[in-house]
Amino acid sequence: MAVKTPMLEELVKGVEEGLLPARIFNDPELFALEQEKIFGRSWVYLAHESEIPKPGDYVLRYVGNNPYIVVRGEDGEVRALLDMCRHRGMRVCRAEMGNASHFRCPFHGWTYRNDGALVGVPAEREAFGPSFNKAEWGLYPIPRLEVFDGMIFGNLDPQAPSLEEWLGDIRWYLELITKRSSAGLEVLGPPQRWVVNTDWKLALETFISDSYHTLMTHRSLIELGIAPRDAKYAMYGEQVHIPGKGHGSMVIGAPPGAKLPPFWGYPEEMLERAKASYPSREQFEVARETRILLITVFPNLSIHNPIRKPDHKYQGAVPMLTFRVWHPLGPGKIEIFSWALVEKDAPEWFKEKTRLSYLRFFGSSGTFEQDDTEIWSLVTQNAGSSQGRGLRLCYRMGMDLTPDPNWPGPGVAYGINFTDANLRNFYRRYVEMLLS
């Protein structure tokens, strides 16, 4: 049981009142507490199975400040091994990705098989004697590792609930993406990685509930005719949260009067496949009406799947799909890992176009996202200022709304996106984890 400091008391009260102090975005004490209470115990997204399709394929990923080699063994099993030699703690793998049957430590030469077993110790008998047992000195595996539809998650807490329980009803929304085709998804290359002086929660807020910012933050793209002029454009669609879990989704259709093709604008053949592969008819019907889908899995994985096109002159729609991890580096500092993905069996022309739709609007140079990171950086500076940190920010949008009784999916849904409902739910879970 954590000590309920005055700051935590304020957070508990603040969540219910829809008022949170700005310091949550830039505070060393809170950062340390999050590392222990949240990132030490949550299911954190590591990689997609398509990044490591063959035996020996590996990528290097992080949970908190712990480097993990996410690797497919010769037996086909996916593992995450702490990148730390058991002898003196050296990194045994310093590349970000590759293919290796073994990892050999450059310090003293201890050699591990890609399933983590220690198989070679130089001068083993002479140096360590007959009592030394290599079986006790394998690479440390992440305490928990589970996969949902190709998405690899790890958890540092051996006592954590299963990934299935952790995800709960957000699976229904994830499946709108992961089960669009029975072939599954593939990454379009490695992630873009870049550093932003902001907080992981602030970045996440944009993707879990904030369609309200589109009008102003992304006004430049409205001016170019890429986003519609209607001030209430981003208001339509459902905002859904999963109580008790912290997850949230926004399922946005075409606003009244907007002529946008169904099913995000995916090619007709993909719609037909989805009809066959979606687990339920409700999911297919929701997907058919969807133009923009955002999902955030607590704590720090966000998914964005909007209708889009490769440039402002392109005739037609080419949706894009991105997964991103808001990886905390320090108080007010994150690294973004951002992937583009596509259905494995999508037509080749579409794979090429969807990659461009992603690159030009999201990611490190994206014309949407570059304005987001500008704004997040300056909010974060203010959140660290002596006056600003105590100011309470307004999370009161949509507090008087009542849930939509007709929504066919699970969770608590509101029929309007101008609400902070998903945020209040996220922070309720956040505070609960900090306190437990």
Binding site: Q192, W194, T198, R355, L356, L359, T367, E369, Q370, S377
Partner: protein, 170 residues
Amino acid sequence: MDVTREVLDFLHREAALLDEGRYREWLSLLTEDVVYRVPVRLTRERPPQGGYGGVAEGMLHMDEDRASLEMRVARLETGFAWAEDPPSRLRHFVTNVRVGEPVRTDRGEEVEVRSYLLLFRSRWDKPDFTFLSAERQDLLRRENGGWKLARRLVILDHSTLPTHNLSFFL
């Protein structure tokens, strides 16, 4: 004037336009079929044949053609491009220019050019700044007497980018 001198003039003028925010004029230095690419760079094991390792094939930071570059410039002109309004203070330091032998192709006279780039960036009223370092592998083509940029590949010296966005051109 010899080609090397012409190419140096081109690169220095281009850098001045980029540093002075004269993006419309910068667009006029590009061919209609321009290809502008900034691949993701990764930490990989040393390639046995030498050369730049870890240049990702699948993923880029930017993969632009004429239309998308025009979109990026038009965006900067809207008055609502917050990432660069107020603008960053940029300085493109272009050095180590190596000019290849001009060749005649069916598209005209073309020349391959490699240069090193050190890009200084500062924003707001903060004393902080960032540097990006790269090699640029360009293809210039002579059109109407002057050189234009037909292809640029930017090999970054960064895996994780040290800056909060790429809201400018390299």
